[in-house]
Each structure stands twice: as structure tokens, then as C-alpha cells.
């Protein structure tokens, strides 16, 4: 259920006050615009427009902003309130080699990830102040190669079983829980290197068009505040076929395709 700031969440005194709420003359009131979450007796309001609030196990896409060799860690921007941390002990070294905790690999940190690099990672733990610590100890995580990064509101990406998608149109999509979306060409099976080796060969124009089309579709959906998942993106991609890629950034067409997607998805839900 949606509510606005100042709306009464409940008048029942049995409930406990959670995030995004406050008591106004003993009535639980919302302090943000968002949807009401109920866990047993705890009522909280999850804001729609927010920075990313991480949870353990989330898949995020982030950008390295700092290499802190002295602390053996990288600082990562994941659009959360505080910078996210990636410890040297929570990365897989190139070639799946185990770290020997020598001084050398501390000095080599910059050759693994440097400032500006994009990575995909999983949230490992949350510090007391809310800062996140991520890890890339899986071959599917790691540095990202050629592709396009999109930033949308984190509340548009739901927590799901899978956030890595190979769409039927032939692109690979990472829907980061933090609202960062990575679109690239699919990686062939077994070549996952944890992303240390990056392929810098030019991408063919045909593939580029598909990637840009997906990008513009996602932006159109995000502009209309529609949830982003593989179904909605696929539906929107099909609908967008009647337009050229460069027309998809016009606001009129963006609204139109997003609305058509919405209608089509509703119909499919009913069937």
C-alpha cells in the first residue's frame, strides 16, 4: 500500500514504529512517500525515492573510486549513503589463485581493480554504520568489460533469485539491486575469468544497436517508474521494435512504449 508523508499508517497502538514513520499525537504517521511494510508487529515505510539500502546477499554493480593500499581495500560507489568497501581478502585473484597474503599482492592491488573500473559483486556484510562490504569470490562476479552502465532508482529493481540475465535479444544484463544496470554482450560459457582479462575488440554495429535499444527501453520504463525485470524489459524491447533506436530517447515515444508495456503485461498476467 502506498502512502504519502503525513499520511496515517495506522491508528492501532499495538504496532511498533519502524523506519520512515513517526508518532504524531500517538498516531503512527509516515514521514516518507513509499509503501508500507509489515513484519509481524513492526510497521515501516519503504521510500520510493531513496539511496540504496543494502542487504546481505544483494547483487550490486559498483564503480571503484579509490584504491586504499594501506588499508588493503577498495572504495566502491554503489549509490548507497556511505561508500562501499571491497576488501583485498574478499576478491578472487586472477586465474582463481588463492591469496598468499604477501606484500606483493597488496602492491598489485591497482592492477586488479583501479579507479573508474566497474565491478559486479555481492553484499557480504553490513557495518554498524550502514556501510556495505562486498565480495567478488565467485567467477560470475568481478570486473566488467565493454558495455553500458545505467543508473536508475534502486527501488525499481526487486530482489530476485537471479540478477544476471541473458535476454533472448542477445544481450547480457546485470540488474544490480542498487539500481545500477549493466548491459553488455553475452559472455560465452566457461570464459568467465572473474573479469580480469577484458576483451577490447570493437563490438559489431548490429550488437551495438541491440544494446542501445535495451538501454533506451530500460530508461523509458524507469522514467514511468515501472519495475525492471527480465519480463518487463523483454516486453518493452519487443514493443520498441516499431521505432528506430534513436527515436526511443524522445519523451513522447518513451511514455508510449512504457504504457504499452504496462498494458501488455497486465493482459498477460490475467491469462
Amino acid at each position: 500500500m502506498l502512502c504519502l508523508p503525513g499520511d496515517t499508517v495506522t491508528e492501532d497502538a499495538d504496532y511498533m514504529r519502524g523506519h520512515g514513520t513517526y508518532y504524531k499525537s500517538k498516531v503512527l504517521t509516515s514521514s516518507v512517500a513509499g509503501c508500507i511494510d509489515k513484519v509481524n508487529k513492526l510497521l515501516s515505510v519503504r521510500p520510493l525515492r531513496t539511496r540504496y539500502n543494502g542487504e546481505i546477499g544483494d547483487i550490486v554493480v559498483g564503480r571503484v573510486i579509490d584504491v586504499q593500499t594501506e588499508h588493503k581495500r577498495w572504495r566502491i560507489d554503489t549509490s548507497s549513503r556511505l561508500d562501499t568497501i571491497l576488501l583485498l581478502s574478499s576478491v578472487n585473484l586472477p586465474g582463481g589463485e588463492l591469496r598468499r597474503k604477501t606484500v606483493e599482492d597488496e602492491l598489485m592491488m591497482k592492477s586488479f581493480f583501479k579507479e573508474g573500473d566497474l565491478i559486479s559483486a555481492e553484499v557480504q556484510s553490513i557495518f554498524a554504520d550502514g556501510a556495505l562490504s562486498v565480495h567478488t569470490r565467485n567467477l560470475k562476479y568481478g570486473k566488467l568489460g565493454q558495455g553500458v552502465l545505467l543508473r536508475v532508482s534502486p527501488s525499481l529493481v526487486e530482489r530476485r533469485k537471479t540478477h544476471f540475465h541473458n535476454l533472448p535479444c542477445g544481450v547480457h544484463l546485470i540488474l544490480g539491486n542498487n539500481g545500477y544496470i549493466w548491459i553488455s554482450l553475452p559472455v560465452s560459457e566457461g570464459v568467465e575469468s572473474g573479469g580480469f582479462a577484458i576483451n577490447l575488440d570493437p563490438v559489431p554495429l548490429a550488437d551495438r544497436e541491440v544494446i542501445s535499444r535495451v538501454r533506451n527501453c530500460i530508461l523509458a520504463l524507469a522514467k514511468q517508474k515501472m519495475m525492471l525485470h527480465s519480463t518487463s524489459i523483454n516486453t518493452c524491447y519487443e514493443i520498441s521494435q516499431s521505432y528506430q533506436v534513436k527515436d526511443l530517447i524522445k519523451s513522447k515515444i518513451m511514455t508510449e512504449i512504457a504504457q504499452l508495456t504496462n498494458e501488455k503485461m497486465k493482459i498477460e498476467e490475467l491469462q
Binding site: 538501454r215 534513436k246 530517447i249 524522445k250
Partner: protein
């Protein structure tokens, strides 16, 4: 706007795309993104305009006063520019944070408007009284720096188009000027010669217009030109630190004029539709 740092893969993808004349949002190198223009929105100004293009928005307002002209230019009016970047655009611009950028912007405006024929129609009594237009440019949201200049110039031109000055008559009996009592006795400015700016950004081996922030982050440098409505280049300036070769720029000039003419026509059409409303 904090400097955006891109990864190697992103840059490579972007530059190769531009070599193929297909940018990440599907545009070709010489396509511009949608521009929304509104005018006459500030009641405290004699002319105003708001421009918005994706993640960049600029508001321009014109105010006027009567002053005595510069001694060397008795028949010319004056135009003053003032620019400010809202701290809402980025916390970096709080206080004096944006000063470096705004000084640059204002200087380029002043240089481009120095010999504009608009100044001639601001004369009231030659050598005695002229109009001084104060143009305020407020940057509300800042996208890529390169496209910001273009948008600012469009906003200023649209605001000048919207400007209505009260008619002033010289009364020989009292040897002084009189402002017409009829509030609708107004004078419109001839803005056809007002220049607009076109920025071309070199990315890889190609020049593009209207770059996104990502594109700007992987660019070598940008060139800013002010162009009048005949397509003549009036002024130029380089933005960014990279070095550029002069030959490709020479070849670029006809294309820049063409782009500028398109923009001039766009403003004319938009502003005409405003007045007919």
C-alpha cells in the same frame, strides 16, 4: 559535477561506437537530444526563458535599466551577464564553488555579444541615454559541460526574444526623456543577429555535438563556437585539456554553421509559437 571516471571497457565501447557513427543512446554524431523551451515565466523580469534537455536545465532572465553609454560607443546599448550555478546541481557548487565555471561562461558571452547589432537598438538618446540589459543565467541542473554552453545561449536568445522594453520618447520641451504611460506601448528587440553557441567535442577520431556525461568523460577536448544567424563564426574557445589538430577543424566549419542555423531556426519557431499563443 564531480568528474566522472570511466572504466577502460566503457570508454572503448563508447569510442568505437562513435567511430561507427552510432552512440550509446542510438544517436548519430550530429544528432541533438530533445530540447524543451518555455518562456515568459518570471514576472519580475522583462523577458525570461527556461530550457531543459534531459539532465540539464538553465533559466535566463533579462532586466533593464537606463544608463549613460560608454564614451567610445555613444550609439550602443549595454549588456551585462551574470551566471550562477545552483548548489542543487551539485553540492560542489555551494558558495563560490561554481565561480570558475561561471566566470568562463560570462566572459564568453561578453566576447560574443560585444559587436552584436542588438546593441544598436538599445539606444534611447545617442550619447546620453541607452538601455542596459542585465541578463541572469541560472544553471539549475548540469549535464555535460560541453552541452551546457549551447543550452545557455539558447536560453539567453529565447529570453531576449521574450523581452519587451517600454517605449521611451525624447521630450524637447523639458530636454529629458519620458516613458510612455501606456503599459502596452512596448518595444520588441530585434534578436535575429544574437549569436548562439555550438560545442563540438572530439571523441576518438570524430567530432560530435551534445555529448552525454559519459561521452564527455572519454573525450579529448571540446571546441566552443559562437555563431550568428548567417552561419558566421564569431568567437571560439577550447574547453578541456587535450590537444587538437587544426586540419579537421577547418573541415568542420561548414558543418558547425549548419548545426547553428538549425538551432537558430528552432528558437525562431519555438518563440513564434509562444507569441501566437
Amino acid at each position: 559535477m564531480a568528474e566522472l571516471k570511466l572504466s577502460e571497457g566503457e570508454k572503448c565501447y563508447l569510442i568505437n561506437g562513435i567511430n561507427d557513427n552510432f552512440r550509446i543512446d542510438g544517436r548519430s554524431c550530429w544528432d541533438r537530444r530533445e530540447i524543451e523551451l518555455e518562456n515568459n515565466l518570471l514576472p519580475s523580469c522583462v523577458g525570461s526563458a527556461l530550457i531543459r534537455s534531459v539532465n540539464c536545465s538553465v533559466i535566463a532572465g533579462v532586466k533593464m535599466s537606463l544608463v549613460s553609454p560608454d564614451s567610445g560607443r555613444p550609439g550602443k546599448g549595454k549588456i551585462e551577464f551574470f551566471a550562477d550555478i545552483s548548489a542543487n546541481a551539485d553540492p560542489l557548487f555551494e558558495g563560490r564553488g561554481g565561480q570558475e565555471m561561471t566566470v568562463e561562461l560570462v566572459r564568453f558571452f561578453e566576447d560574443s555579444f560585444k559587436d552584436c547589432s542588438l546593441l544598436d537598438c538599445l539606444t534611447v538618446v545617442e550619447g546620453k541615454q541607452v538601455w542596459c540589459l542585465s541578463i541572469d543565467i541560472l544553471i539549475l541542473e548540469i549535464g555535460a559541460r560541453a552541452s551546457l554552453y549551447d543550452l545557455c545561449s539558447i536560453a539567453v536568445k529565447a529570453a531576449l526574444y521574450d523581452t519587451r522594453l517600454p517605449k521611451v520618447y525624447f521630450n524637447p520641451d523639458i530636454m529629458d526623456i519620458e516613458i510612455s504611460e501606456d503599459p502596452f506601448d512596448l518595444m520588441q528587440l530585434d534578436v535575429s543577429k544574437v549569436p548562439i553557441f555550438v560545442t563540438v567535442t572530439r571523441i576518438g577520431n570524430n567530432y560530435t555535438i551534445d555529448p552525454t556525461q559519459e561521452e564527455e568523460a572519454s573525450s579529448i577536448a571540446s571546441l566552443l563556437f559562437s555563431v550568428d544567424n548567417c552561419g558566421t563564426l564569431l568567437h571560439s574557445k577550447k574547453l578541456g585539456h587535450g590537444s587538437l589538430h587544426c586540419y579537421p577543424i577547418k573541415e568542420l566549419i561548414p558543418k558547425i554553421s549548419e548545426v547553428a542555423l538549425e538551432l537558430h531556426n528552432f528558437i525562431d519557431d519555438q518563440c513564434k509559437s509562444f507569441t501566437s499563443r
